[in-house]
């Protein structure tokens, strides 16, 4: 077996190389006993199999974090035959620091000069051959986002696994001291070594930095923030345009599939229960998974583009001050903004965070952001009870509570996830503007989309079955379902929180999918369709909003409606966001904690809103 490990600083393009080598056959898990993500996989090349391990990204190997300790232990243990070190060719001197750290481990390596396209665009030339002679290991100029270079890379790996080369040692670096002074001395020794290695290798460095015209606008304190918000709004519009075609094809599925499936099963004379399960759950689940995946694809494509061109780093700079008050770094701005489109996308966007604690805290905060579905559904419900200005007030109220809830979340979880003494201010590079590699952006978005699609199918099928069981009614009316019996039995309790059994049932279903809330209300109040169809086929169920409005406004009070709107909005985002959080955090304990917090806080919020609202509304 030939084992290769990828090592590099964040933004070195490590995961791009990994994805390009391994494709979708990757295995994602945890490093033993740690919450750090471990990714590995295999590929075949010219008759041999190669295992590739993606080592956690960090800026150095000084044992400061779990990520750095894992990396060092992995290399020392000899679990790799070859380490591929990636550096950013456009910032060669700085990014070679990791290589200098790695040299102390005395291990076979190759050096990948990634982002050659950016370096060339900046007018930099790099003599890779000379650098290779200085270092004593092969050096390959590379552009990870361009698929052309991979043949050469795989050939290089094949050659080096059988005839490896090692780096020379870095003078003045020993693993002896660990004080701030020791780190300073060794740091200087490393940079001196890097200068020596780069002697005659790269063209002269520019002494002065001039901000581009775009940066002067984007980085200005006030104007820049407005531009950031404007760009993000346009990005969401673009994301919607991308996902609408997929969604509309998906929405036709239940109509096309239900009849034939039912006909086929009836022909086999199976039990009507099974017919109803398969003809209803299967097409609706498929449709639901497709719309979710389409949404994730849209959001990820657009934000992938914004990241690649360097925009998200600028946004992080703009909002670092605000976010540091929540215990987060500026980098969390991207996942939070993505959350306004789709919580699933926002949650997986927390990958950019520096360490696990920051990542988990960012996910908990992203949950507080109302996603696109909420913004589509809640104003409609509000409009059934309140005049336009009232609905506007509700929306403002929601936005204000987003800020309050984020603050509460950071207070509740911040100390455990990002202890005060470990919090560090922003130390971030602002990458030069890149030209986007669309092929790469779409491929990366498709990986995530496919992953969500698979998991959505599984999760939604399971939840659908559960719903089917609860809402199944032999007579067809909701009063003979299990849901009705349980709901009415616990109504005295839910009343305290401001919700009757109908709104409470809709509240519970909002934890499965926010876009379904309208359909569920329709099923419960008007009773034209089954609850199941309503929940998972929200957009296929013909919905007469005015009929629903008149039934609802005559059945429940304005105060209850208001409590319900707030409770739904700030409940668990959806089951897929929950599942994504578990997948990204690799921690069942923390995912469950955050989920319980959100259910609890939504109920308390509903209780408070209701009891205040009854004083003013009828």
């Amino acid at each position: 077996m030939n084992r290769i490990a990828l090592l590099g600083q964040p933004n070195s393009g490590k995961s791009t190389v990994f994805n390009a080598l391994i494709g979708s056959r990757q295995h994602v898990g945890n490093w033993p006993g740690k919450t750090v993500e471990k990714k590995d996989g295999t590929y075949s090349w010219k008759g041999n199999t190669y295992t590739v391990t993606d080592l956690p990204g960090s800026y150095s190997l000084s044992g400061n974090s779990d990520e750095e300790i894992i990396t060092e232990e992995f290399i020392r243990s000899g679990k790799a035959d070859l380490v591929c070190v990636l550096v950013d060719a456009s910032q060669l001197e700085r990014s070679m620091y990791m290589l200098a750290d790695f040299a102390a481990l005395d291990f076979p390596a190759v050096l990948l000069l990634n982002m050659m396209d950016v370096a060339e665009a900046q007018g930099k030339t790099i003599n890779a051959e000379l650098l290779s002679r200085h270092l004593g290991i092969p050096v390959l100029p590379f552009t990870a986002a361009d698929s052309k270079g991979y043949t050469e890379l795989k050939d290089l790996f094949a050659a080096e696994v059988s005839h490896p080369h090692k780096l020379g040692s870095v003078p003045g670096v020993s693993a002896a001291g660990d004080s701030a002074e020791d780190i300073k001395h060794e740091g200087n020794a490393k940079y001196i070594w890097i200068r020596e290695m780069l002697e005659g290798v790269s063209s002269s460095r520019a002494e002065h930095y001039t901000l581009t015209k775009a940066d002067r606008a984007l980085l200005s304190p006030v104007k820049g923030k407005f531009i950031c918000i404007g760009v993000v709004l346009v990005a969401f519009l673009a994301a919607m345009i991308i996902c609408i075609p997929f969604m509309s094809v998906g929405s036709m599925l239940p109509g096309i599939m239900s009849g034939p499936i039912a006909g086929f099963l009836n022909g086999l004379h199976v039990h009507p229960w099974l017919v109803s399960i398969f003809s209803m759950i299967l097409p609706n689940t498929l449709y639901f998974a497709i719309s979710m995946a389409a949404f994730v694809f849209g959001v990820n494509t657009v934000f992938g583009y914004l990241e690649e061109i360097g925009f998200l780093a600028r946004a992080a700079y703009q909002f670092d001050g605000v976010l540091s008050r929540l215990g987060l770094q500026g980098k969390a701005v991207a996942p939070i903004l993505m959350g306004f489109g789709c919580t699933i996308g926002g949650t997986s966007g927390t990958r950019v965070m520096d360490n696990w604690g920051q990542k988990m805290l960012a996910m908990a905060v992203v949950w507080a952001v109302p996603c696109g579905s909420i913004w589509a559904v809640m104003p409609v419900i509000s409009g059934m009870f309140f005049p336009v200005w009232g609905t506007l007030l509700v929306c403002v109220g929601i936005l204000v509570y987003v800020i309050i809830l984020m603050t509460i979340v950071s207070k509740v979880f911040g100390n455990a996830l990002a202890p005060k003494d470990s919090r560090s201010g922003m130390i971030m590079e602002l990458p030069p503007y890149h030209k986007a590699h669309w092929g790469h952006i779409i491929k990366e978005a498709l990986y995530k989309t496919w992953d969500i699609f698979k998991r959505a199918l599984r999760t939604v099928t399971l939840i659908s079955l559960l719903f089917w069981a609860f809402s199944y009614s032999s007579s067809g009316s909701i009063e003979s379902s299990l849901l009705y019996r349980i709901g009415t039995a616990i109504e005295p309790v839910t009343r305290f929180f401001g919700m009757g059994w109908r709104t409470f049932a809709a509240f519970l279903s909002s934890a499965f999918a926010k876009e379904a809330v309208l359909g569920v209300l329709n099923a419960i109040f008007v009773g034209q369709s089954t609850l199941l169809e309503a929940t998972f086929g929200a957009k296929t169920t013909a919905l007469d909003a005015s009929a629903l409005a008149s039934v609802m406004s005559s059945t429940i009070s304005q105060a209850e409606a208001l409590a319900f709107i707030f409770a739904c909005t700030f409940n668990i985002p959806c089951v897929m966001a929950l599942s994504t959080t578990y997948r990204e955090s690799h921690s069942f304990k923390w995912t469950a904690r955050v989920a319980l917090f959100y259910i609890g806080s939504a109920l308390i919020l509903s209780c408070i809103v209701y009891h205040i609202a009854v004083l003013f509304l009828h």
């Binding site: 620091y97 660990d178 780190i183 304190p221 992080a316 540091s324 201010g425 130390i427």
Partner: protein
């Protein structure tokens, strides 16, 4: 002079990174080391300070910048 007080356009050399082990380790790994010369690119009130060091544009938290002592160069 503290880095946080330096005007945009100033070229300077790092004198001291302070004594916080964790901070020194992080900032050294990303390109700032004692003796390194750099340029202050942007320094606006309440915003991170932008500096150019080792071919890299870095954004540094304001509070952290007040821990960094630097010497202005001609």
């Amino acid at each position: 002079m503290k880095l946080s007080e330096m005007k945009a356009g100033t070229t300077a050399m790092v004198k001291s990174l302070g004594a916080d082990r964790h901070f020194v380790s992080r900032i050294t790994a990303i390109g700032m080391s004692e003796g390194a010369s750099f340029e202050v690119v942007k320094n606006d009130r309440k915003m991170p300070v932008l500096i150019y060091v080792r071919e890299t544009l870095l954004a540094l938290n304001r509070e952290d910048c007040s821990r960094i002592e630097a010497e202005v160069q001609a």
